[in-house]
């Protein structure tokens, strides 16, 4: 068996989730090669070479791979991937964008968002917003898979010394181009990697009030998330949304503030180790998953919490 892992990276380094994807690859078993496709991505390739269990790092460094445009990247991965039994990447928005194209080009199914490896052809994945868990078996020659990072404990990012091989394979579909981006700037930890998250919902009333959560977050070194209602109401940007259709998180501690606990929200955070809910409605469904529930007005409880830390 041979596995190709397409790394998430920002050219300078690999994203932590790549180490979780490598753990999934390790669970399948076999030689693991990592592909770094980017523009000026030499440093990311060096970082990938240090990760545990990597046989070889392939680098394609070219402007056509600069913004991970799915049309170009999928041609590259389908081409290189032909020689492998498994192709894996994380179920982030980049992987979800290009990997189904790869599967279609190879005429195989994609297995989305796996949380467990049963064997080389059998995988476990949540369906129906996590209200059911399916075990699926693939009869395809090449298994194309996105991995939910929170399902796998990361391998070590240090200690390896895999060879790095530059590959000259330029695929430009010529049908799409990058126009611009608006990336959220934050010094707080990324939600999918944060150990502690404090999230606010519609109960926060406005964006300004998120400051009281940020103050707690700063004391705890936490990330700040939100429910869809808070994002839709324009309190905070979309990249903060936790849930079925937002980010899937599993921190050690998740504090839900003014969030009712709709199934679509629970789908994104019920894998957290410890859940705290602060809500003034004692019947809010969030309390049915919370380890510690506090029935209180958040505008009193959160400042008190801040003061107590």
């Amino acid at each position: 068996m041979s596995i190709l892992v397409i790394a998430d990276h920002d050219n300078a380094s690999i994203k932590p989730v790549t180490l979780n994807v490598l753990a999934a690859a390790k669970a399948i078993g076999g030689d693991i090669d990592v592909l770094i496709a980017g523009d000026g991505c030499g440093a990311a390739a060096e970082a990938a070479a240090k990760a545990e269990g990597v046989a070889k790092v392939l680098v394609t460094d070219n402007a056509v791979y600069g913004h991970s445009l799915a049309e170009n990247l999928s041609l590259l991965v389908a081409d290189l991937g032909k020689g492998y039994s498994h192709i894996l990447t994380s179920a982030g928005t980049t992987g979800k964008d290009f990997l189904p194209r790869v599967a279609a080009l190879l005429d195989v199914a994609q297995i989305s968002d796996i949380i467990k490896v049963e064997s080389a052809d059998t995988f476990v994945r949540p369906i129906y917003a996590g209200n059911a868990v399916a075990t699926v078996q693939s009869s395809d020659g090449i298994k194309v898979i996105t991995v939910r990072g929170t399902g796998f404990d990361p391998v070590s990012g240090e200690g390896g010394s895999a060879p790095v091989e530059a590959i000259d394979n330029v695929q430009d579909a010529g049908i799409s181009s990058f126009v611009g981006e608006e990336m959220a700037k934050s010094d707080r930890p990324e939600l999918t990697a944060a150990k502690i998250i404090i999230s606010g919902g519609r109960g926060m009333q406005n964006g300004d009030n998120f400051k009281i959560l940020e103050s707690v977050a700063d004391k705890l070194g936490a990330g700040v998330g939100a429910s869809r209602a808070a994002v839709d109401a324009g309190f905070v940007p979309n990249d903060m949304q936790v849930g079925q259709t937002g980010k899937i998180v599993a921190p050690d501690l998740y504090i839900a503030v003014g969030i009712s606990g709709a199934i679509q929200h629970l789908a994104g955070m019920s894998g957290s180790k410890v859940i705290v809910a602060i809500n003034k409605d004692e019947d809010a469904p969030i309390f049915s998953v919370a380890d510690y529930g506090l029935v209180a007005d958040l505008f009193e409880a959160v400042p008190e919490l801040d003061a107590a830390l």
Partner: protein, 249 residues
């Protein structure tokens, strides 16, 4: 220009599913079904493009059992012009759905195909991307804004770090995210009018597509459930528990 929209019949998003006792799947008997929420957004976007004079005709397509006509009729009531149901009682997986849509695209030659980003039953998030690859088209996935300009479409996408805008040659595929628009409700007169709009019936065999799946569902289980913990009396008790019992701060 012609716009093709894919709408899937799924369990209503408010319903909590139950796994069947024999673990063969989820129980859908007597369960409320509805249009996939992301497909409602796709229909709405197409209708807005028509209202702006960008789209000339909206065709809705669904793959599913005969009753999926209901979801097509809903889309027709919201403003689509005609429907196509690819009738099958099989559980069609994403690659096969993409092949069926590709066959319809070849026939209808739309300039824009709009799908939901994900069906809330399978949570696959694949079909639009697969269709785009099979048709050799560009794709704007997880769209929060769609602007057609000449022979290009600019799509703003909701990505993990924020927003990213791409320009795609037409024809192209767009998959919708939640904040693209807020779908309208169908008015009673429009629901009546929709009954008279054309709805073509076809089958995978007619379209020359084999819908046999390569993924087998071995079993479906209930997720590990969390039991509710305790209620704390005040912030002081909460902090004490987090420090000394859970040891997470």
């Amino acid at each position: 220009m012609k716009v093709l929209v894919a709408v899937k019949r799924v369990i209503d998003y408010n319903v909590k599913v139950r796994v069947k006792p024999d673990n063969s799947g989820v129980d859908l008997t007597n369960i409320k079904m509805a249009m996939n929420p992301f497909c409602e957004i796709a229909v709405e976007e197409a209708v807005r493009l028509k209202e702006k004079g960008v789209a000339s005709e909206i065709i809705v397509v669904s793959i599913g059992p005969k009753v999926a006509q209901e979801q097509i009729r809903t889309a027709l009531a919201l403003g689509a012009d005609r429907g196509i149901l690819i009738e099958t009682d099989e559980e069609v997986q994403s690659l096969q759905a993409a092949k069926l849509f590709k066959a319809v695209v070849d026939k209808e030659q739309p300039q824009l195909v709009i799908l939901g980003k994900q069906a809330i039953d399978s949570d696959n998030n694949q079909t639009g991307q697969m269709l785009a690859a099979l048709a050799g088209m560009g794709q704007g996935t997880f769209a929060s804004e769609v602007v057609v300009e000449g022979d290009k479409v600019n799509v703003t996408r909701e990505v993990d770090g924020g927003l990213m805008t791409v320009a795609l040659n037409l024809p192209a595929v767009v998959t919708t995210d939640l904040r693209l628009n807020e779908p309208r409700y169908a008015s009673l007169p429009n629901i009546m009018k929709a009954k008279k709009k054309p709805l073509e019936m076809t089958t995978p065999a007619d379209l020359g597509v084999d819908v046999a799946a390569s993924l087998k569902i071995v079993k479906v289980e209930e997720p590990a459930t969390r039991s509710a913990g305790i209620k704390v009396a005040d912030v002081a008790e909460l902090v004490e528990k987090l420090k000394n019992e859970a040891k997470v701060i």
